[in-house]
Amino acid sequence: MIERGQRFLQVSQPRARGRRWFGAAIGALAVFALAGCGSKTSADKAANGGAIELLNVSYDPTRELYKDINAAFAAQWKAEHGQDVTINMSHGGSGKQSRAVIDGLEADVVTLALAYDVDAIAQNSNVLARDWEQRLPDASAPYTSTIVFLVRKGNPKHIRDWGDLVKPGVAVITPNPKTSGGARWNFLAAWAYGRKTGGSDAAAEKFVGDLFGHVPVLDSGARGATTTFVERGIGDVLLAWENEAFLAQKELGAGKFDIVVPSISILAEPSVALVDANATKHGTTAVAEAYLKFLYTPEAQELIAKNYYRPRNADVAAKYAGTFPKLDLVTIKDFGGWQQAQTTYFADGGVFDRIFSGIKR
């Protein structure tokens, strides 16, 4: 470059033109060289030595659960195979997380809020086998939960059941069903109540429409909604995962909240699945499969119950029977399965959109 500058002074005009193009070419090359340096940094993440890494892409409220599960699984794997395993976590709204995996987030396993979001990965990319639901027991849902109400201490608005939510002056907090898995369960649970009391889907739509008219904030994930309700003091009722409600009651503000169990709710079945292509690429299929199977062991089921998720294992369930109230539960099958529920209620132009275009002011 130094010589270039000096010689530039001596060259005549026509040649200078040619040299300018030469310079432009050099400049362009420099850019590509720099870009090359930039993209190299990622290639060195492959598992080296004995240690192995897994990436579990999960939904919002499972942060505490998987902290416990991961520690227990790592200890067990180390004892059985003498190998260190680190499980990295990514949390967010279930739909958002599913989108990230579709876009190339290299999850070895996904543990999402509902089957539809796992289906979406299988349908929109080729990283996950379509028969994933049959590969593990209980339709690949190692724990369940339901939707309950969290209200402020002493239940000042006298919330007893779904019908109380649409009374004047009651503000309800729920995340956005478009992006949050929990919120879709909320929506369907409310629908089940509306259908039971009103006797038809039209009555249910009217009820759910009224309900969303009482919603002042729509966060994108369950965690955001809980934060809004608990920390920011917005709203009278939080429609929440049962586990989230217990957690909020126990750990966020002991004595600040009460849980109200409605007359009817929905059996929420969060799904787990191996992301085949990513695990194969990372060479982690064996450990990832073991990780998911571990969720069904009595040890993990205990941790699941302790984190307020309903365990599948009958013995553990019996032991924690006192924790979880009994209530009338519909299932996703009552809505024709997730594919149909998604198309009917949550897809663009579906019932949810119709309800909201009615509410708009």
């Binding site: 930039g38 940094t41 990622s42 967010g92 190339g104 290299e106």
Partner: protein, 277 residues
Amino acid sequence: MTRGAASTPLARAALLGIALAFLGVFLVAPLVAVFAEALSKGFAAYGAALIERDALSAVRLTLLVAAISVPLNIVFGLAASWAIAKFDFRGKSVLITLIDLPFSVSPVVSGLIYVLLFGAQGWFGPWLRAHDVEIIFAVPGLVLATMFITFPFVARELIPLMQEQGRDDEEAALSLGASGWQTFRRVTLPNIRWGLLYGVLLCNARAMGEFGAVSVVSGHIRGKTNTMPLHVEILYNEYNFAAAFAVASLLALLALVTLTLKSILEWRYGIHGRTGY
């Protein structure tokens, strides 16, 4: 002597009071709130939140992203301002407008474009996957998004400065036999160094603090692809408010250091930035 738009001392004092009250409510209060919330659980909890493993890795990642993207923007800024200030060519104002473009693009859109390009469903996604190159949800994606957002910072500072200084110094040096590179290093660089520093300062502050764009391309893997602003959001969503504000307070401190250095540059060297971003 002080008769002007506000002719009485009372009116002047009132206007000053209103201005300061406005600044107090809108600028000082949020800043104080960050530190108050960060220290709400005491100094011990504050310290613990900062040396926690994931917090440290977020700090490291933020520094790494800034360390890659800021120098690249410096090189670009120098090249662009040299070409624009020292030469006349057609389409110059179009070029400057294009350089400014990232200022007016929503950060979310800046993240989205890289997902569309490099995501698994994007144009280059399948090829990248086949060749085991990770861009989105890894460091290169974060660097690209950050670079887009901070693209004009250095160039914007330097272009007007170099235009004001004209070409006489460089032409004199060259006619005395200095090489192009020597001229740049000995004549141009000393002339623009404070302006350059000023641009780098603002560029760095934005690079370390960017949220919207990196949020779209991050993947939010704890301890892996979370930058400090993203880590703030994660902690915030884990009911860990004191810790969220503790990490936020580090970023606020960075902002205060930036402002201090910026003010020093302004007082000492009379550098006045074009409206910074």
